[in-house]
Protein backbone atom coordinates (compact mmCIF):
# COMPACT_ATOMS: atom_id res chain seq x y z
CA UNK A 1 0.00 0.00 0.00
CA UNK A 2 2.76 2.41 0.99
CA UNK A 3 4.56 1.54 -2.23
CA UNK A 4 1.44 2.38 -4.20
CA UNK A 5 1.17 5.81 -2.61
CA UNK A 6 4.82 6.72 -3.06
CA UNK A 7 4.85 5.47 -6.64
CA UNK A 8 2.10 8.01 -7.33
CA UNK A 9 3.30 10.84 -5.15
CA UNK A 10 6.98 10.84 -6.09
CA UNK A 11 6.49 11.23 -9.84
CA UNK A 12 3.76 13.81 -9.19
CA UNK A 13 6.14 15.84 -7.04
CA UNK A 14 8.97 15.71 -9.56
CA UNK A 15 6.53 16.72 -12.31
CA UNK A 16 5.42 19.69 -10.22
CA UNK A 17 9.07 20.64 -9.65
CA UNK A 18 9.82 20.38 -13.34
CA UNK A 19 6.87 22.56 -14.32
CA UNK A 20 7.89 25.14 -11.70
CA UNK A 21 11.45 25.13 -13.02
CA UNK A 22 10.10 25.57 -16.55
CA UNK A 23 7.84 28.44 -15.49
CA UNK A 24 10.50 30.39 -13.64
CA UNK A 25 13.35 29.88 -16.07
CA UNK A 26 11.31 31.60 -18.81
CA UNK A 27 11.45 34.90 -16.90
CA UNK A 28 14.92 34.24 -15.54
CA UNK A 29 16.55 33.67 -18.94
CA UNK A 30 14.07 35.80 -20.90
CA UNK A 31 13.16 32.94 -23.25
CA UNK A 32 10.83 34.15 -26.02
CA UNK A 33 7.40 32.52 -26.28
CA UNK A 34 7.98 31.00 -29.71
CA UNK A 35 10.91 28.97 -28.35
CA UNK A 36 9.37 27.81 -25.13
CA UNK A 37 5.77 28.62 -24.20
CA UNK A 38 4.70 29.18 -20.61
CA UNK A 39 3.06 26.18 -18.87
CA UNK A 40 -0.01 28.37 -18.38
CA UNK A 41 -0.20 28.98 -22.15
CA UNK A 42 -0.03 25.23 -22.82
CA UNK A 43 -2.75 24.60 -20.27
CA UNK A 44 -4.98 27.24 -21.81
CA UNK A 45 -4.49 25.60 -25.23
CA UNK A 46 -5.43 22.25 -23.74
CA UNK A 47 -8.49 23.92 -22.28
CA UNK A 48 -9.69 25.47 -25.55
CA UNK A 49 -8.67 22.22 -27.24
CA UNK A 50 -10.56 19.77 -25.12
CA UNK A 51 -13.10 21.75 -23.11
CA UNK A 52 -14.18 24.17 -25.80
CA UNK A 53 -13.57 21.23 -28.12
CA UNK A 54 -11.50 22.45 -31.09
CA UNK A 55 -9.01 19.54 -30.69
CA UNK A 56 -11.60 16.79 -30.57
CA UNK A 57 -12.04 16.23 -34.33
CA UNK A 58 -8.25 16.00 -34.70
CA UNK A 59 -7.87 13.77 -31.68
CA UNK A 60 -10.65 11.48 -32.92
CA UNK A 61 -9.19 11.35 -36.44
CA UNK A 62 -5.72 10.33 -35.24
CA UNK A 63 -7.07 7.93 -32.63
CA UNK A 64 -9.37 6.25 -35.11
CA UNK A 65 -6.77 5.76 -37.83
CA UNK A 66 -4.24 4.58 -35.23
CA UNK A 67 -6.58 1.99 -33.73
CA UNK A 68 -7.88 0.76 -37.09
CA UNK A 69 -4.38 0.55 -38.56
CA UNK A 70 -3.05 -1.11 -35.41
CA UNK A 71 -5.71 -3.80 -35.48
CA UNK A 72 -5.25 -4.37 -39.21
CA UNK A 73 -1.45 -4.53 -38.95
CA UNK A 74 -1.40 -6.70 -35.85
CA UNK A 75 -3.97 -9.24 -37.02
CA UNK A 76 -2.21 -9.69 -40.35
CA UNK A 77 1.20 -9.88 -38.66
CA UNK A 78 0.01 -12.69 -36.39
CA UNK A 79 -1.68 -14.55 -39.25
CA UNK A 80 1.23 -14.25 -41.68
CA UNK A 81 3.73 -14.97 -38.89
CA UNK A 82 1.88 -18.11 -37.86
CA UNK A 83 1.64 -19.44 -41.42
CA UNK A 84 5.29 -18.65 -42.09
CA UNK A 85 6.48 -20.27 -38.86
CA UNK A 86 4.55 -23.44 -39.67
CA UNK A 87 5.16 -23.82 -43.39
CA UNK A 88 8.67 -24.17 -44.79
CA UNK A 89 7.41 -23.73 -48.36
CA UNK A 90 5.69 -20.48 -47.53
CA UNK A 91 8.82 -19.36 -45.72
CA UNK A 92 11.07 -20.11 -48.71
CA UNK A 93 8.74 -18.21 -51.06
CA UNK A 94 8.21 -15.06 -49.06
CA UNK A 95 10.79 -14.63 -46.32
CA UNK A 96 13.44 -12.90 -48.48
CA UNK A 97 10.93 -10.25 -49.57
CA UNK A 98 9.64 -9.68 -46.10
CA UNK A 99 13.20 -9.22 -44.83
CA UNK A 100 13.97 -6.80 -47.67
CA UNK A 101 10.85 -4.80 -46.89
CA UNK A 102 11.67 -4.87 -43.20
CA UNK A 103 15.09 -3.31 -43.71
CA UNK A 104 13.50 -0.36 -45.50
CA UNK A 105 12.57 2.65 -43.35
CA UNK A 106 8.78 2.52 -43.56
CA UNK A 107 8.31 6.29 -43.10
CA UNK A 108 9.99 6.73 -46.49
CA UNK A 109 6.95 5.04 -47.98
CA UNK A 110 4.55 7.67 -46.63
CA UNK A 111 4.42 9.85 -49.80
CA UNK A 112 3.83 6.77 -51.97
CA UNK A 113 1.05 5.59 -49.69
CA UNK A 114 -0.60 9.01 -49.94
CA UNK A 115 -0.44 8.71 -53.73
CA UNK A 116 -2.04 5.28 -53.61
CA UNK A 117 -4.60 5.75 -50.86
CA UNK A 118 -5.43 9.46 -51.01
CA UNK A 119 -5.44 12.31 -48.52
CA UNK A 120 -8.09 10.90 -46.23
CA UNK A 121 -8.08 8.36 -43.41
CA UNK A 122 -7.29 5.33 -45.63
CA UNK A 123 -3.67 6.35 -46.21
CA UNK A 124 -3.18 6.91 -42.46
CA UNK A 125 -4.61 3.48 -41.65
CA UNK A 126 -2.36 1.79 -44.21
CA UNK A 127 0.71 3.64 -42.93
CA UNK A 128 -0.05 2.64 -39.33
CA UNK A 129 -0.67 -0.98 -40.34
CA UNK A 130 2.64 -1.08 -42.21
CA UNK A 131 4.52 0.30 -39.21
CA UNK A 132 2.91 -2.22 -36.82
CA UNK A 133 3.33 -5.24 -39.04
CA UNK A 134 7.05 -6.01 -38.94
CA UNK A 135 8.00 -6.11 -35.28
CA UNK A 136 4.93 -8.17 -34.44
CA UNK A 137 5.43 -10.44 -37.43
CA UNK A 138 9.02 -11.18 -36.44
CA UNK A 139 8.05 -11.74 -32.81
CA UNK A 140 5.28 -14.13 -33.80
CA UNK A 141 7.63 -16.21 -35.95
CA UNK A 142 10.33 -16.29 -33.26
CA UNK A 143 7.77 -17.01 -30.52
CA UNK A 144 6.30 -19.98 -32.36
CA UNK A 145 9.70 -21.33 -33.36
CA UNK A 146 11.08 -21.24 -29.83
CA UNK A 147 8.34 -23.51 -28.49
CA UNK A 148 9.87 -26.07 -26.14
CA UNK A 149 10.50 -29.09 -28.35
CA UNK A 150 9.83 -31.43 -25.48
CA UNK A 151 6.29 -30.10 -25.18
CA UNK A 152 5.80 -30.77 -28.88
CA UNK A 153 7.14 -34.34 -28.68
CA UNK A 154 4.99 -34.91 -25.59
CA UNK A 155 1.93 -33.95 -27.66
CA UNK A 156 3.08 -36.14 -30.54
CA UNK A 157 3.66 -39.11 -28.28
CA UNK A 158 -0.06 -38.94 -27.47
CA UNK A 159 -0.88 -38.91 -31.22
CA UNK A 160 -1.91 -35.24 -31.23
CA UNK A 161 -2.65 -33.86 -34.72
CA UNK A 162 -0.61 -30.84 -35.87
CA UNK A 163 -3.59 -28.50 -35.49
CA UNK A 164 -3.94 -29.35 -31.81
CA UNK A 165 -0.20 -28.87 -31.27
CA UNK A 166 -0.46 -25.48 -32.93
CA UNK A 167 -3.53 -24.14 -31.14
CA UNK A 168 -2.91 -25.67 -27.71
CA UNK A 169 0.87 -25.44 -27.51
CA UNK A 170 2.70 -23.23 -30.01
CA UNK A 171 0.29 -20.32 -29.95
CA UNK A 172 0.41 -20.17 -26.15
CA UNK A 173 4.18 -20.65 -26.10
CA UNK A 174 4.45 -17.63 -28.42
CA UNK A 175 2.05 -15.46 -26.38
CA UNK A 176 4.81 -13.68 -24.43
CA UNK A 177 6.64 -12.76 -27.64
CA UNK A 178 3.41 -11.68 -29.31
CA UNK A 179 2.55 -9.33 -26.46
CA UNK A 180 6.05 -7.85 -26.55
CA UNK A 181 5.49 -7.19 -30.25
CA UNK A 182 2.06 -5.63 -29.57
CA UNK A 183 3.75 -3.31 -27.09
CA UNK A 184 6.40 -2.11 -29.55
CA UNK A 185 3.79 -1.73 -32.26
CA UNK A 186 1.69 0.74 -30.25
CA UNK A 187 4.45 3.33 -30.34
CA UNK A 188 5.21 2.64 -33.99
CA UNK A 189 1.52 2.99 -34.82
CA UNK A 190 1.50 6.53 -33.45
CA UNK A 191 4.64 7.39 -35.39
CA UNK A 192 2.99 6.08 -38.56
CA UNK A 193 -0.18 8.09 -38.02
CA UNK A 194 1.66 11.33 -37.30
CA UNK A 195 4.09 10.94 -40.21
CA UNK A 196 1.25 10.28 -42.65
CA UNK A 197 -0.51 13.38 -41.35
CA UNK A 198 2.67 15.43 -41.73
CA UNK A 199 2.93 14.44 -45.36
CA UNK A 200 -0.63 15.16 -46.38
CA UNK A 201 -3.72 15.65 -44.30
CA UNK A 202 -6.35 18.18 -43.40
CA UNK A 203 -6.98 16.75 -39.94
CA UNK A 204 -5.36 14.97 -37.01
CA UNK A 205 -2.93 15.73 -34.22
CA UNK A 206 0.00 15.50 -36.65
CA UNK A 207 -1.67 18.07 -38.87
CA UNK A 208 -2.29 20.25 -35.80
CA UNK A 209 1.44 20.19 -34.96
CA UNK A 210 2.36 21.10 -38.49
CA UNK A 211 -0.15 23.91 -38.77
CA UNK A 212 1.12 25.31 -35.45
CA UNK A 213 4.50 25.64 -37.13
CA UNK A 214 3.05 28.04 -39.72
CA UNK A 215 2.43 30.73 -37.08
CA UNK A 216 5.07 29.60 -34.53
CA UNK A 217 2.35 28.63 -32.09
CA UNK A 218 4.60 26.50 -29.87
CA UNK A 219 2.07 26.45 -27.04
CA UNK A 220 -0.39 24.65 -29.31
CA UNK A 221 2.38 22.29 -30.43
CA UNK A 222 3.01 21.36 -26.82
CA UNK A 223 -0.68 20.77 -26.22
CA UNK A 224 -0.82 18.52 -29.30
CA UNK A 225 2.30 16.62 -28.20
CA UNK A 226 0.77 16.03 -24.78
CA UNK A 227 -2.28 14.55 -26.53
CA UNK A 228 0.01 12.06 -28.31
CA UNK A 229 1.68 11.20 -25.02
CA UNK A 230 -1.74 10.48 -23.54
CA UNK A 231 -2.73 8.13 -26.38
CA UNK A 232 0.61 6.32 -26.23
CA UNK A 233 0.47 5.95 -22.48
CA UNK A 234 -3.07 4.59 -22.38
CA UNK A 235 -2.23 2.21 -25.23
CA UNK A 236 0.94 0.77 -23.72
CA UNK A 237 -0.65 0.47 -20.27
CA UNK A 238 -3.61 -1.40 -21.72
CA UNK A 239 -1.36 -3.86 -23.53
CA UNK A 240 0.72 -4.33 -20.40
CA UNK A 241 -2.39 -5.07 -18.39
CA UNK A 242 -3.61 -7.59 -20.96
CA UNK A 243 -0.14 -9.15 -21.12
CA UNK A 244 -0.13 -9.82 -17.39
CA UNK A 245 -3.68 -11.16 -17.52
CA UNK A 246 -3.34 -13.42 -20.54
CA UNK A 247 0.20 -14.73 -20.10
CA UNK A 248 -0.28 -15.35 -16.38
CA UNK A 249 2.03 -18.36 -16.26
CA UNK A 250 5.17 -16.49 -17.30
CA UNK A 251 5.19 -14.01 -14.41
CA UNK A 252 4.69 -16.86 -11.98
CA UNK A 253 7.43 -19.01 -10.52
CA UNK A 254 9.58 -20.73 -13.18
CA UNK A 255 8.62 -24.29 -14.04
CA UNK A 256 11.64 -26.07 -12.65
CA UNK A 257 11.44 -29.24 -10.67
CA UNK A 258 11.41 -28.08 -7.06
CA UNK A 259 11.80 -30.41 -4.13
CA UNK A 260 8.57 -31.00 -2.24
Amino acid sequence: MKDRVTSFIFPALSLLGLVALWHFSIDLFAIPDYLLPRPSAVISHLKTGYIDGVFWPHFAFTLQSTITGYLLGCVSAILVGAVLAESRTFEKCFYPFIIALQSMPKVALAPLIIVWFGYGAASKVVMVALMCFFPLFVNTVVGIRQTDRQLVSMMQSFSAPASLVFFRVKLYAAAGHIFAGLQISIVLALIGAVVAEFVASSKGIGWLIQSSLANFNTAQMFAALLSLVAIGLVGTQTIQFLHRRVVFWEQAAPMTALPE
Partner: protein, 259 residues
Amino acid sequence: MTQGRVLEVAGLAVVYQSNREPQRAVENCDISVGAGEFVSIIGPSGCGKSTLLSVVAGLLEATRGRVSILGSEVRGPRPEVGMVFQRPTLLPWMNVIENVLIPVRALGRNVEAHRQQAQDLLKLVGLGTHARHYPHELSGGMQQRVGLARALIHDPGLLLMDEPFAALDAMTRERMSLELQDIWMARRKTVLFITHSIPEAVFLSDRIAVMTPSPGRIEREIAIDLPRPRRVETLASPAFAALCGEIRETFNALAGEHA
Protein backbone atom coordinates in the same frame (compact mmCIF):
# COMPACT_ATOMS: atom_id res chain seq x y z
CA MET B 1 6.81 -64.88 -31.91
CA THR B 2 5.84 -65.58 -28.33
CA GLN B 3 2.22 -65.13 -27.41
CA GLY B 4 1.23 -62.41 -24.93
CA ARG B 5 4.18 -60.15 -25.67
CA VAL B 6 3.12 -56.52 -25.43
CA LEU B 7 6.38 -55.11 -26.70
CA GLU B 8 8.91 -56.75 -28.93
CA VAL B 9 12.15 -55.10 -30.06
CA ALA B 10 14.44 -57.12 -32.34
CA GLY B 11 17.80 -56.13 -33.82
CA LEU B 12 17.11 -52.43 -33.34
CA ALA B 13 19.70 -49.93 -34.53
CA VAL B 14 19.40 -46.15 -34.51
CA VAL B 15 21.92 -43.88 -36.20
CA TYR B 16 21.58 -40.13 -35.78
CA GLN B 17 22.54 -38.22 -38.92
CA SER B 18 24.13 -35.11 -37.50
CA ASN B 19 26.18 -32.47 -39.32
CA ARG B 20 29.33 -34.16 -38.15
CA GLU B 21 29.81 -37.92 -38.40
CA PRO B 22 26.77 -40.20 -38.00
CA GLN B 23 26.18 -41.08 -34.35
CA ARG B 24 25.32 -44.70 -33.58
CA ALA B 25 23.09 -44.41 -30.53
CA VAL B 26 21.61 -47.92 -30.32
CA GLU B 27 22.86 -51.07 -31.99
CA ASN B 28 21.65 -54.66 -32.08
CA CYS B 29 19.18 -54.09 -29.32
CA ASP B 30 16.67 -56.81 -28.38
CA ILE B 31 14.11 -56.70 -25.62
CA SER B 32 10.61 -57.98 -25.08
CA VAL B 33 8.06 -57.23 -22.41
CA GLY B 34 5.13 -59.51 -21.54
CA ALA B 35 1.63 -58.46 -20.54
CA GLY B 36 1.49 -56.99 -17.04
CA GLU B 37 5.25 -57.15 -16.66
CA PHE B 38 7.36 -54.36 -15.15
CA VAL B 39 10.71 -54.21 -16.92
CA SER B 40 13.45 -51.71 -16.21
CA ILE B 41 16.30 -50.75 -18.47
CA ILE B 42 19.38 -49.54 -16.72
CA GLY B 43 22.49 -48.12 -18.31
CA PRO B 44 25.02 -45.31 -18.09
CA SER B 45 23.91 -41.91 -19.34
CA GLY B 46 24.27 -41.41 -23.07
CA CYS B 47 23.97 -45.15 -23.82
CA GLY B 48 20.80 -44.73 -25.85
CA LYS B 49 18.00 -45.37 -23.35
CA SER B 50 15.93 -42.35 -24.37
CA THR B 51 16.59 -43.14 -28.01
CA LEU B 52 15.25 -46.67 -27.56
CA LEU B 53 12.15 -45.34 -25.80
CA SER B 54 11.53 -42.72 -28.51
CA VAL B 55 11.51 -45.45 -31.14
CA VAL B 56 9.07 -47.53 -29.10
CA ALA B 57 6.87 -44.43 -28.66
CA GLY B 58 6.86 -43.95 -32.42
CA LEU B 59 8.58 -40.56 -32.21
CA LEU B 60 11.77 -41.67 -33.92
CA GLU B 61 12.32 -43.99 -36.85
CA ALA B 62 14.51 -47.05 -36.46
CA THR B 63 17.48 -47.26 -38.81
CA ARG B 64 17.34 -51.07 -38.71
CA GLY B 65 15.37 -53.69 -36.85
CA ARG B 66 11.79 -54.28 -35.81
CA VAL B 67 9.65 -52.83 -33.05
CA SER B 68 6.15 -54.13 -32.52
CA ILE B 69 3.48 -53.43 -29.96
CA LEU B 70 0.73 -56.00 -29.43
CA GLY B 71 1.89 -57.80 -32.54
CA SER B 72 1.77 -54.92 -35.00
CA GLU B 73 4.76 -52.95 -36.17
CA VAL B 74 5.30 -49.44 -34.79
CA ARG B 75 5.12 -46.81 -37.54
CA GLY B 76 4.23 -43.77 -35.46
CA PRO B 77 2.74 -42.81 -32.10
CA ARG B 78 0.15 -45.31 -30.93
CA PRO B 79 -2.92 -44.85 -28.72
CA GLU B 80 -1.96 -47.99 -26.76
CA VAL B 81 1.08 -46.18 -25.37
CA GLY B 82 1.29 -43.74 -22.47
CA MET B 83 4.53 -41.91 -21.86
CA VAL B 84 6.02 -40.27 -18.78
CA PHE B 85 9.00 -38.01 -19.36
CA GLN B 86 12.04 -37.10 -17.31
CA ARG B 87 10.78 -33.54 -16.97
CA PRO B 88 7.08 -33.17 -16.15
CA THR B 89 6.46 -31.45 -19.55
CA LEU B 90 3.08 -30.07 -18.51
CA LEU B 91 1.49 -27.23 -20.46
CA PRO B 92 1.92 -24.24 -18.12
CA TRP B 93 -1.22 -22.49 -19.47
CA MET B 94 -3.53 -25.37 -18.60
CA ASN B 95 -4.62 -26.38 -15.14
CA VAL B 96 -3.88 -29.81 -13.76
CA ILE B 97 -7.04 -31.58 -14.90
CA GLU B 98 -6.79 -30.14 -18.42
CA ASN B 99 -3.21 -31.38 -18.57
CA VAL B 100 -4.33 -34.85 -17.55
CA LEU B 101 -6.97 -34.76 -20.30
CA ILE B 102 -4.45 -33.96 -23.08
CA PRO B 103 -4.23 -37.53 -24.45
CA VAL B 104 -8.05 -37.70 -24.62
CA ARG B 105 -8.13 -34.48 -26.61
CA ALA B 106 -5.19 -35.61 -28.77
CA LEU B 107 -6.93 -38.85 -29.66
CA GLY B 108 -10.11 -36.97 -30.53
CA ARG B 109 -12.13 -38.70 -27.82
CA ASN B 110 -14.89 -37.10 -25.76
CA VAL B 111 -13.22 -34.86 -23.17
CA GLU B 112 -16.30 -34.36 -20.97
CA ALA B 113 -16.86 -38.10 -20.72
CA HIS B 114 -13.35 -38.52 -19.29
CA ARG B 115 -13.47 -35.72 -16.72
CA GLN B 116 -14.57 -37.95 -13.85
CA GLN B 117 -11.90 -40.48 -14.73
CA ALA B 118 -9.26 -37.74 -14.75
CA GLN B 119 -10.45 -36.70 -11.31
CA ASP B 120 -10.20 -40.31 -10.09
CA LEU B 121 -6.67 -40.62 -11.48
CA LEU B 122 -5.65 -37.40 -9.75
CA LYS B 123 -6.94 -38.89 -6.52
CA LEU B 124 -4.96 -42.05 -7.22
CA VAL B 125 -1.73 -40.05 -7.54
CA GLY B 126 -2.59 -38.03 -4.42
CA LEU B 127 -3.65 -34.80 -6.12
CA GLY B 128 -7.42 -35.07 -5.73
CA THR B 129 -7.70 -31.53 -4.42
CA HIS B 130 -5.37 -29.93 -6.97
CA ALA B 131 -7.39 -30.32 -10.17
CA ARG B 132 -7.79 -26.55 -10.67
CA HIS B 133 -4.20 -25.63 -9.80
CA TYR B 134 -1.72 -24.59 -12.46
CA PRO B 135 1.59 -26.43 -12.90
CA HIS B 136 3.66 -23.53 -11.53
CA GLU B 137 1.74 -23.82 -8.26
CA LEU B 138 2.93 -27.40 -7.74
CA SER B 139 6.24 -28.85 -6.56
CA GLY B 140 8.40 -30.98 -8.86
CA GLY B 141 7.11 -34.22 -7.37
CA MET B 142 3.50 -33.14 -7.73
CA GLN B 143 4.09 -32.11 -11.35
CA GLN B 144 5.58 -35.50 -12.08
CA ARG B 145 2.49 -37.15 -10.59
CA VAL B 146 0.31 -35.13 -12.94
CA GLY B 147 2.48 -36.49 -15.76
CA LEU B 148 1.80 -40.01 -14.52
CA ALA B 149 -1.97 -39.44 -14.35
CA ARG B 150 -1.83 -38.01 -17.88
CA ALA B 151 -0.06 -41.12 -19.17
CA LEU B 152 -2.83 -43.31 -17.71
CA ILE B 153 -5.96 -41.38 -18.75
CA HIS B 154 -6.45 -43.09 -22.13
CA ASP B 155 -5.96 -46.49 -20.49
CA PRO B 156 -2.87 -47.46 -22.50
CA GLY B 157 -1.71 -51.06 -22.53
CA LEU B 158 1.94 -50.04 -22.38
CA LEU B 159 3.41 -47.42 -20.11
CA LEU B 160 6.80 -45.98 -21.07
CA MET B 161 8.71 -44.09 -18.41
CA ASP B 162 11.98 -42.28 -19.13
CA GLU B 163 13.80 -41.62 -15.86
CA PRO B 164 10.60 -40.12 -14.43
CA PHE B 165 12.03 -39.55 -10.95
CA ALA B 166 15.56 -38.50 -11.89
CA ALA B 167 14.94 -34.79 -11.25
CA LEU B 168 13.45 -35.35 -7.79
CA ASP B 169 15.19 -35.34 -4.42
CA ALA B 170 15.97 -38.67 -2.75
CA MET B 171 13.07 -38.66 -0.28
CA THR B 172 10.42 -37.78 -2.84
CA ARG B 173 11.93 -40.29 -5.19
CA GLU B 174 11.58 -43.12 -2.71
CA ARG B 175 7.97 -42.23 -2.01
CA MET B 176 7.19 -41.99 -5.72
CA SER B 177 8.60 -45.51 -6.22
CA LEU B 178 6.26 -46.86 -3.55
CA GLU B 179 3.30 -45.07 -5.10
CA LEU B 180 4.18 -46.25 -8.59
CA GLN B 181 4.28 -49.83 -7.37
CA ASP B 182 0.83 -49.43 -5.79
CA ILE B 183 -0.59 -47.95 -9.00
CA TRP B 184 1.01 -50.66 -11.09
CA MET B 185 -0.39 -53.39 -8.83
CA ALA B 186 -3.84 -51.79 -8.89
CA ARG B 187 -3.94 -51.28 -12.66
CA ARG B 188 -1.67 -54.09 -13.88
CA LYS B 189 -0.13 -52.08 -16.66
CA THR B 190 2.75 -53.32 -18.74
CA VAL B 191 5.64 -50.99 -17.96
CA LEU B 192 8.96 -50.26 -19.60
CA PHE B 193 10.85 -48.13 -17.11
CA ILE B 194 14.16 -46.40 -17.64
CA THR B 195 16.43 -45.37 -14.84
CA HIS B 196 20.06 -45.08 -13.90
CA SER B 197 19.35 -45.87 -10.26
CA ILE B 198 20.05 -49.52 -9.42
CA PRO B 199 18.01 -49.63 -6.16
CA GLU B 200 15.05 -47.99 -7.90
CA ALA B 201 15.17 -50.60 -10.66
CA VAL B 202 15.45 -53.51 -8.24
CA PHE B 203 12.64 -52.18 -6.06
CA LEU B 204 10.17 -51.76 -8.91
CA SER B 205 10.94 -54.42 -11.50
CA ASP B 206 10.08 -57.99 -12.38
CA ARG B 207 13.07 -57.99 -14.66
CA ILE B 208 16.02 -55.67 -15.26
CA ALA B 209 17.80 -55.29 -18.58
CA VAL B 210 21.31 -53.87 -18.39
CA MET B 211 22.46 -51.81 -21.34
CA THR B 212 26.04 -51.37 -22.57
CA PRO B 213 27.62 -47.94 -23.00
CA SER B 214 27.01 -46.25 -26.35
CA PRO B 215 26.07 -47.63 -28.85
CA GLY B 216 23.66 -49.33 -26.47
CA ARG B 217 22.46 -52.89 -26.59
CA ILE B 218 20.92 -55.11 -23.92
CA GLU B 219 23.76 -57.14 -22.51
CA ARG B 220 22.11 -59.02 -19.69
CA GLU B 221 18.71 -59.55 -18.14
CA ILE B 222 18.18 -60.31 -14.48
CA ALA B 223 14.88 -61.50 -13.00
CA ILE B 224 13.91 -59.88 -9.70
CA ASP B 225 11.86 -62.36 -7.69
CA LEU B 226 11.41 -60.35 -4.50
CA PRO B 227 7.85 -60.86 -3.19
CA ARG B 228 5.25 -58.14 -3.75
CA PRO B 229 4.15 -55.79 -2.47
CA ARG B 230 7.64 -54.55 -1.71
CA ARG B 231 7.83 -52.13 1.21
CA VAL B 232 10.34 -49.69 2.62
CA GLU B 233 11.74 -52.61 4.68
CA THR B 234 12.49 -54.46 1.45
CA LEU B 235 15.14 -51.84 0.78
CA ALA B 236 17.02 -53.01 3.85
CA SER B 237 16.71 -56.77 3.24
CA PRO B 238 19.78 -58.92 2.39
CA ALA B 239 18.07 -60.27 -0.75
CA PHE B 240 17.61 -56.71 -2.01
CA ALA B 241 21.25 -55.86 -1.30
CA ALA B 242 22.44 -59.02 -3.06
CA LEU B 243 20.47 -58.19 -6.21
CA CYS B 244 21.76 -54.61 -6.21
CA GLY B 245 25.28 -55.95 -5.84
CA GLU B 246 24.87 -58.37 -8.72
CA ILE B 247 23.59 -55.64 -11.03
CA ARG B 248 26.28 -53.22 -9.98
CA GLU B 249 28.90 -55.84 -10.86
CA THR B 250 27.40 -56.41 -14.31
CA PHE B 251 27.19 -52.68 -14.77
CA ASN B 252 30.80 -52.05 -13.83
CA ALA B 253 32.10 -54.97 -15.87
CA LEU B 254 30.33 -53.55 -18.95
CA ALA B 255 31.64 -50.05 -18.30
CA GLY B 256 35.16 -51.51 -17.92
CA GLU B 257 34.96 -53.45 -21.20
CA HIS B 258 33.98 -50.36 -23.10
CA ALA B 259 36.34 -47.94 -21.38
